[in-house]
C-alpha cells in the first residue's frame, strides 16, 4: 500500500515535469539566445541590452548622443537624494545591502524560500524601509519608488544579470512567469512572444521589435518625448493595456513572476539603469 502510494506520487512528479518542465530555465535561455543569433548573426550578444537600437545604427548613434548628457539627469539626482537621505532612525538604504548597494541589482529577483515568493529589487528596497520604521512605497508610484530605483539601480551598472532558479518553489514561479510571456492576452490577442520572439528585429509600423534576452537589463527607462519614467513593471502594464488587456497590479505576484522569468532570460548581460527608450 505504502509502496503503491510512493509509485503513484513518483508518476505524478513525472507527469508534472514532463508537462511544465520539459525544458530547464537554462535550456530555455540558451534556446532564446540561439534563436536571435541565428536570425541576426552580426549582432553581438552583449549588444542585446540595446534592444530595438541594436537593429539600427542611426537610432543607436542618436541614443549614444543623448546619453552623453541625458536630459533626464535631474530626475536621477532626485533619486539619489531619496537614496542618500537617512531614515528617521539615522540608518540608510545602503545599510540594507551588501557593498552599500553596489552591484546587487543583478541578483534580483530571487525566490525567497521562507516567504515562498519572488522578491524583486523594488520589494527589497521596501523591506529596507519597513525594517527601519518607514512606510513602504507603492511599486506603481514613479515619483517615489520609480525615482529611487532610477538612482539605486545605477549602482549596479555593468554588473551581469545573475538570477538563480533553484528548487521547486522557484521553478514554479519561473514557470508561471514563462506562461505569462507566451500566453495570448487582450482583445488584440498578442502574447509577449508574438512580437518579441516571433518577429524579433522586424519593424512594427515604424519601430523595431526588441529581442527577449536583454530586455530586463536597462530599467528604469526614461521614455518618449517627455522622458516619462518607466520601471520594468510599468512597461508590462503599458504593454498589456496596448493589447487591450486589463493590466495586472504593479508589484503583484503575476508581474513579479514575469520579471523573474524575464530577468533570468537576460542572465549574463550587463545592467545599465536609467537609459532613454522610445
Amino acid at each position: 500500500m505504502k509502496r503503491a502510494t510512493w509509485i503513484l506520487s513518483c508518476l505524478g512528479m513525472l507527469a508534472f515535469s514532463a508537462d511544465a518542465m520539459s525544458v530547464s530555465p537554462e535550456q530555455e535561455r540558451l534556446k532564446s539566445v540561439q534563436a536571435v543569433q541565428k536570425k541576426y548573426p552580426d549582432i553581438k550578444f552583449e549588444d542585446y541590452v540595446y534592444g530595438a537600437l541594436a537593429f539600427s545604427a542611426d537610432a543607436k548613434a542618436q541614443y549614444d548622443n543623448m546619453m552623453a548628457f541625458p536630459p533626464f539627469e535631474s530626475e536621477i539626482d532626485k533619486g539619489r537624494a531619496l537614496w542618500e537621505t537617512p531614515f528617521r532612525n539615522g540608518r540608510h538604504y545602503a545599510d540594507c545591502f551588501p557593498g552599500g548597494g553596489k552591484n546587487v541589482a543583478g541578483n534580483y529577483p530571487y525566490y525567497d524560500e521562507t516567504m515562498k515568493k519572488v522578491v524583486t529589487f523594488e520589494m527589497a528596497l521596501n523591506q529596507c524601509r519597513t525594517k527601519n520604521g518607514e512606510a513602504a512605497y507603492k511599486s506603481s508610484d514613479m515619483n517615489t519608488m520609480g525615482l529611487l530605483t532610477a538612482y539605486a539601480r545605477t549602482l549596479s551598472d555593468g554588473m551581469l544579470m545573475n538570477v538563480k532558479v533553484k528548487g521547486d518553489g522557484a521553478l514554479a514561479a519561473f514557470e508561471s512567469g514563462r506562461r505569462f510571456f507566451y500566453q495570448r492576452r487582450g482583445q488584440l490577442n498578442f502574447s509577449c512572444a508574438s512580437c518579441h520572439v516571433g518577429h524579433v528585429g522586424e519593424i512594427l509600423r515604424t519601430e523595431y521589435l526588441s529581442m527577449l534576452p536583454g530586455q530586463a537589463t536597462h530599467w528604469p527607462a526614461f521614455r518618449g518625448g517627455d522622458y516619462a519614467l518607466f520601471t520594468l513593471q510599468r512597461r508590462y502594464s503599458a504593454c498589456n493595456q496596448l493589447v487591450r488587456a486589463v493590466p495586472m497590479e504593479i508589484g503583484g505576484e503575476e508581474y513579479n513572476n514575469l520579471e523573474y522569468f524575464h530577468s533570468y532570460l537576460s542572465n549574463g548581460l550587463p545592467l545599465k539603469a536609467s537609459v532613454f527608450r522610445k
Partner: protein, 123 residues
Amino acid sequence: MEKPIAIVTAASLSLLLAATFMSAARAAAPGPEPSGQELAFDNRKGNCLACHAMPGDPKAVTSTNVAPPLVGMAARFPDRSKLYGQIWDATRSNPDTAMPPFGKNGILTDTEINKVVDYVYGL
C-alpha cells in the same frame, strides 16, 4: 390654409424637441462611417499598416516588414471568403500567428471587415 401649417409646425416642433432630447441622451452620436481605407490605416481599428506594407496605395505610409505586403490580393485570394476568414480569425490557419482575430474578438464588425476586404482587394 393656416391650420395645416399649424399642425405641421407643432408636429415638427415636437419631433425637434424629441430629437434634441434623444441626441442628448445618446451622447456619443456616431460620426460618418469610415471607409475601408480609413479602417485599414486607423491604429484603433484595422491597423493593417502596423504589419503590412501596401505598395499599391501611395497614401499607405509604413516601414513595416512584419507580415507579407498586401499586393495582388485578388490573385492571391480568388476566393473572397478565404480572405474574409483570414481577417476574421487568422489563428485558424496558423496557431502562432501575430495577426489579431478581428472578427472573432469583435475588433471590427462584419460590415467593417467587408469594407476592409473590398479595399484590400483593390490593392
